[in-house]
Symmetry: C2
Subunit: 122 residues, 2 copies
């Protein structure tokens, strides 16, 4: 049973998540959260889109990561993802200019869940 | 069973939801989505925080609404909430300056679910 305190603390605003740093398994910052992909029908967060390697919002790549792979690290004040920066470079990614096409590409989504060894939800 | 097409269309980016217009039961615009409150543990969207009556982001009030009360209206290109602007004025609300205190206030959240006749999830 949840207490009032637990309950009042267990939601976070989407605009707080966006921009939050993401740290790799070695503790180094590997990117930040660009946005959250939310399933329209259920309202379930499915993937986080990470902004990796951009400077002032320019030139970075986007990496979709299954939401449940991100773990909030209170000490770091950001999310922890259990890959290194090198491993992230090998993960499925896309350019912001390809965003609309990619996030609606089921093959890309399947590749993401496969890469992160995450059971698919569909 | 979902088809690839259905699946590829059934997620939306949090930064697309933010700023989307919200229309009342009479079809008039009553506000816009400020952000989505997401349950940390489950990743489930629980409430939308609506920005009501602000001009250039100033002076508006914030209204938490259970996420499932918002229905996307393709024709309107926005969400539909089954209340009028007058009814929304009577609904639980807060000022942006009170945001942090209010969104962690279980009494406020309870009042929101009560006002919108929505079963609580906690």
């Amino acid at each position: 049973m949840q207490t009032q305190t637990q309950n009042s603390q267990d939601c976070i605003s989407s605009d707080r998540v966006e921009g939050t740093s993401v740290y790799g398994s070695d503790g180094d910052k590997i990117g930040s959260v660009d946005c959250i992909m939310i399933e329209k029908r259920s309202g379930q967060a499915r993937e986080a889109i990470l902004d990796v390697g951009s400077f002032l919002g320019m030139g970075g790549s986007r990496h979709a990561v299954p939401w449940q792979k991100l773990e909030y690290d209170v000490d770091k004040g950001g999310y922890r993802l259990d890959v290194t920066e090198e491993q992230l470079k090998e993960a499925p990614s896309f350019q912001e200019s390809d965003r609309e096409r990619t996030i609606s590409d089921q093959r890309h989504r399947t590749a993401v869940y496969d890469y992160y060894s995450t059971p698919v939800y569909w």
